[in-house]
């Protein structure tokens, strides 16, 4: 299984599949302050403005809270996801019954490396895996949109 340290740094998402789980990951260098990237990731109401993968996002991104997310991957479905962990400007974990998504910011000389990993699985995974869409393109767009928006803000005068 791919680990964060071996993720491509170019925004090229990868999905690896096992018998009872799959994991999609993407990582990208962003030349912007961690505070900007973190704020973009955690201001729920603002996310659909810059993130072309998300139709809508309701609720507050705060530990213990549930958010309702509609993705362009499956716009007829509303995902109810719990925000499980948050460490400002470093790490965030979302999860539901089927999986968990981890966001990580790692400081670099010019800003941060943003990594996003989604692991889905369980005993029922073999039953529903054929219905799962391809996540790679959506992950690539998410990372690219975040980089573009964060760098636009960071470079404003």
């Amino acid at each position: 299984m791919t680990t964060t340290s071996t993720l491509a740094q170019t925004g090229n998402a990868q999905t690896e599949k096992e018998r009872f789980a799959q994991q999609t990951s993407v990582s990208i260098e962003i030349n912007a302050d961690a505070a900007i990237v973190w704020t973009l990731l955690t201001q729920a109401q603002d996310i659909p403005r810059w993130n072309s993968t998300i139709v809508s996002l309701e609720g507050n991104i705060a530990v213990g809270d549930k958010i309702k997310l509609v993705s362009y991957l499956d716009p007829k479905r509303t995902f109810k996801i719990k925000v499980k962990e948050m460490e400002a400007e470093k790490h965030m974990l979302w999860g539901d019954n089927q999986g968990k998504r981890t966001f990580t910011l790692t400081p670099t000389e010019k800003g941060v490396t943003f990594s996003m990993v989604e692991r889905m699985g369980g005993l029922m995974y073999p039953m529903y895996k054929k219905y799962l869409p391809d996540f790679d393109e959506s992950f690539n767009k998410f990372a690219a949109d975040l980089k573009k928006e964060a760098e636009l803000i960071a470079n404003a005068q």
Binding site: A32, D33, A35, I36, T39, L40, Q43, D46, R49, L152, I153, A154, A156, Q157
Partner: protein, 265 residues
């Protein structure tokens, strides 16, 4: 710095501070209270002013803090505030009678489209989160630098840039969707409708041609059109312009309507 020097410098930017406070609070009494409190607090703390920022930045920080203290507990306005207030005005004969009286008798009772554009922005920008609204005004209308705004808002420069970008993006999107001056499909025509009421003999097209933002609308350059909207605010003093009394009357009406609306919703 002596008290006299402070008072002299304060007077130089007093009108700007006052208009800034009005655009945040939309209330003349609140504006005057905060302005006075800002002067008193700054005078009392003058010995702590080290000159690390300009006096103007330091005083705006005090005023902004006082305004935030007042507004923090208040709900923000919806972006369709002008629709809601128009509906209320149409059912309020007294409001129109007062308005027409001001129009007929006051030296500051003119109606000009560009003045209403500024008034409209003041109302709609209250749909932004408070930090975004303040940051946007400080940068786009009062031309503080990002570093100075960070001091005023007690935020990092990174966060100021975030507030600016998001605030500006939201306002551009809202006006692009709503304002018929810059978008033929825009759903709001209030400035031209009111011009027809207050200035029935004027030629609408001639009046619109006086507003550069309307003249440049066909360029479709949203950023440029927003900059022109901000320029209108920069150039107008809502307390002394030719339409100030009429627009302040409208503002007080909208503030009261919003207060009731937000209580119910």
């Amino acid at each position: 710095m002596t008290q006299d020097q402070f008072t002299t410098e304060f007077e130089a930017f007093r009108a700007q501070l006052k208009s800034y406070l009005l655009r945040i609070t939309t209330s003349v009494p609140d504006t005057e209270d905060i302005l006075q409190d800002t002067y008193i607090r700054a005078s009392e703390k003058l010995s702590t002013f080290r000159g690390e920022s300009s006096l103007k930045t330091w005083v705006f920080a005090i005023g902004s803090n006082l305004a935030r203290d007042l507004l923090r507990a208040q709900k923000r306005w919806p972006e369709n505030v002008t629709d809601i207030c128009k509906e209320a005005a149409l059912n309020n004969r007294e409001f129109f009678q007062e308005s027409m009286q001001i129009r007929a008798t006051s030296q500051h009772g003119n109606f000009e489209i560009r003045e209403h554009v500024a008034f409209c922005f003041t109302c709609v920008s209250k749909s932004l989160p408070l930090e975004q609204q303040l940051t946007l005004l400080l940068k786009e209308v009062y031309h503080f630098k990002v570093k100075e705004i960070a001091e005023i808002m007690e935020q990092t420069e990174a966060m100021v840039k975030y507030y600016l970008h998001t605030g500006r993006s939201k306002m551009i999107e809202i006006f692009d969707r709503r304002c018929s001056l810059i978008n033929k499909e825009g759903i709001c025509h209030q400035c031209t409708e009111l011009n027809g009421i207050y200035n029935p003999k004027q030629d609408q097209q001639t009046e619109l041609a006086k507003v550069q933002m309307a003249r440049d609308a066909e360029t479709g350059n949203k950023e440029h059109l927003f900059d022109l909207r901000m320029k209108i605010l920069e150039e107008l003093d809502p307390f002394s312009s030719g339409a100030s009394e009429l627009q302040l009357h409208h503002l007080e009406h909208n503030r009261q309507v919003m207060e009731k609306h937000l209580e119910k919703n």
